[in-house]
Amino acid sequence: MVTLSIMGVECRYASVKILENVTFQAEAGELIGVLGPNGAGKTTLLKTISGVLKPNGGVVYVDGRELNRMGVKEVARNIAVVPQDPQTTFNFTAMEIVLMGRNPHMSRLQLESPKDVQLALSSMRLAGVEHLADRMMDEISGGERRLIMIARALAQEPRILLLDEPTLHLDIANQIKVMELLRELCGKRGLLVIAVLHDFNLAARYCDKLLLLSGGRIQATGTPEEALTRENLSHVFGVQVYVKRHEMTNSIYIVPVSASGGKERLRKSLRVHVICGGGTGASLLKALSDQGYETSAGVLNVLDTDYEAAQQVGAEVAVEAPFSPITSAAHRRNIELIKRADIIIVTEFMIGKGNLKNLEAAIEGAKMRKPVVLIGSLGLKQDFTGGIGEKMLRTLKRRGALQAHSGDEALNIVSSLALKK
């Protein structure tokens, strides 16, 4: 059970501090992701852990022993590194490259034994590149070359595996392949794997622990749920994101907000109430929020994706329990929100007996002389109430509801209405 201990590591280049007071522990079986913006010091950190760079301050301990006191071969027997960009001046075959991984275990005058060759082959098999053994390295694609480098690292029989952006330039299939291989190495073979990653979602899905690095300092550590919060990501990367949990993978995933959603948004004084449901309102709510409008929505049931979107943008919502028709309490709340809003938008949600009250609310809004925007064609496809819903939509039109054919058009109408105010 190998343990890695980084204590107060500091690295300087001239007078510039690349790493400052970096401390963390890791042990066998863990897959650790290192995330951070460009120039954060991630590669420097990897170099310090691999022993290539000696820190100006602090110590790296492997199983309690100082890394920098260990001989080159001993380090190589314990720690293997998968480089980001392998250089090849001379043309070796893939097999020859992987066999070089056996060097730490061989003495000077030895030739590779059959056992070494078998180990190299099984490493290649594990990485899925056994069929490339006799090919020249320069005939092999970048992604496969990366896998061969992983095979070489595995041939070293290390206890710690370090990877610098292993999924860079790989197609999606190979990216998944690599991450699943790393997971397997940790789980089944008890390796400690530390990988610098640039893809939040891969990191969140596969890593046990994450390290957020910025400006040479550790800004956050913990499980993906603990480390990847809106606040942390805003602080470390300077982006606004939505953090969601995916039902199928049960891991969180990050969605960056569009470019217009910066830290300082122009707060417009207009309040827009969106009557929606079944996912028809999510993108609209987001767009309105990005443009700085205050938003509210209703009536939505708590399992609706539109409800989740409303939560993300901080809109006030009139909620209802799932699978139940709209109760009068929820309806009253909806009317309240409509009263406070300046503009009402009705999306093309499926109309059933249970949510007819939403259209009633819209009509109330029209009666209050609030501008109502109707998205979509006149409800012929949406209506599952045998015509009642369609009638209500026509009522809305009669009362002066504006017709928009898309969400974008609706937004345009809103902004022109805003100008008038």
Binding site: G51, Q87, T89, P104, R108, V117
Partner: protein
């Protein structure tokens, strides 16, 4: 189990050895005095095993002297220098990760030339262990030049490879300036230096071989022992360290061995060019880049090449002898270009 070049090199090596022996016999046969091959073999057999009291040849004393004192040393010298320079070429191309590197790249040639120039101009005339002054001066000055180049490029315990190359260039230019100055102030011995710098095997004696052989063979054996390190170092220095190679130490040892071999060769033969640059590429085409096969193959190929070039040098304009360096360049270049084109999809170093 996939085939690897390194397991097949022994067969190629044996073939190459036979070719070398053939080349040497042909070379022994060439010359102003017509001595048939059987007589040559007889003369050598007699010298090698006198106790056997064989009387294969009825060679005259002159003939014996020609073979044993004139031809044999130069041919053995040719083989020795050929194998030395090609090994040095393999080392430098591997350490610098640069297919354009040759044994002279960190100052050996300019140092040796300066040493030779000084010896000629100052007309010093004593011998050290039977070796003439010129050789000793060339040897000492070439190692001094490397020493200067090395220390100029060093930053702490590390010797970065690009800095070494630049440093070598700078020192070579400086030394060339000194040599030009010497040539300027001493017009009369000029042609001797020029001829020496072109490289030739004619002056090689048994004493030269006795002093150069242990250095060259020792160096070559040392290089072979570091073959696997060389393989790994051609990737990149950082990767090599990750794979357990002590990069700085291996680099220093390999460069020292390469310089020693080159200095020893150059001191007895002058500056023979092209061998160190091209032979490694030729052998890489034959056996691949694994230094465990490349080094032995280069040794044999280099020896064959130089011995053959020397034969050509003596044969083409007989009885006038061309400098060997001229022949190596004139024959090597076109032959290599031909090989390059024949390999089709481009020779990846």
């Amino acid at each position: 189990m996939p085939r690897r070049a390194v397991e097949n090199w022994k067969r190629k090596f044996i073939i190459l050895t036979f070719i070398l022996i053939l080349a040497m016999l042909i070379s022994l046969n060439l010359g102003y005095a017509q001595i048939p091959v059987t007589k040559i073999l007889g003369i050598m057999a007699e010298r090698v095993a006198p106790f056997l009291n064989l009387r294969y040849s009825d060679a005259s004393e002159t003939e014996k002297s020609i073979v044993m004192d004139l031809r044999l040393p130069r041919i053995l010298g040719g083989a020795l220098i050929g194998l030395g320079l090609s090994t040095a070429g393999v080392v430098f191309q591997g350490v610098f990760r640069n297919p354009m590197a040759d044994p002279y790249v960190i100052g050996v040639s300019s140092g040796a030339a300066l040493g030779a120039a000084l010896a000629i101009v100052l007309n010093i005339g004593f011998t050290v262990f039977g070796v003439n002054t010129l050789s000793v001066m060339a040897f000492l000055f070439s190692l001094t030049a490397v020493f200067i180049v090395f220390n100029l490029a060093r930053t702490g315990p590390k010797v970065p490879v690009t800095t070494l190359l630049l440093s070598g260039l700078a020192v070579s230019i400086m030394f060339s300036a000194f040599i030009s100055f010497l040539q300027l102030i001493s017009g009369w011995e000029l042609h001797r230096l020029v001829y020496w710098m072109m490289g030739g095997l004619s002056g090689i004696q048994w004493a030269d071989l006795k002093s150069a052989t242990p250095l060259i063979i020792g160096g070559v054996v040392g290089v072979y022992l570091y073959s696997r390190d060389l393989n790994i170092m051609t990737l990149s220095e950082e990767e090599a360290q990750h794979l357990g190679v002590n990069v700085e130490r291996s680099k220093k040892i390999l460069l020292a061995l390469g310089s020693l071999i080159t200095a020893a060769s150059v001191s007895i033969s002058g500056l023979i060019g092209f061998v160190g640059l091209i032979i490694p590429h030729l052998t890489r085409i034959m056996v691949g880049p694994d230094h465990r096969a490349l080094t032995p193959a280069s040794i044999m190929t280099g020896a064959i090449f130089l011995v053959s070039c020397d034969s050509l040098a003596r044969f083409i304009l007989a009885p006038i002898e061309l400098p060997v360096g001229l022949v190596t360049s004139l024959t090597g270049a076109p032959f290599f270009l031909y090989l390059l084109r024949k390999r089709g999809k481009g020779y990846r170093m």
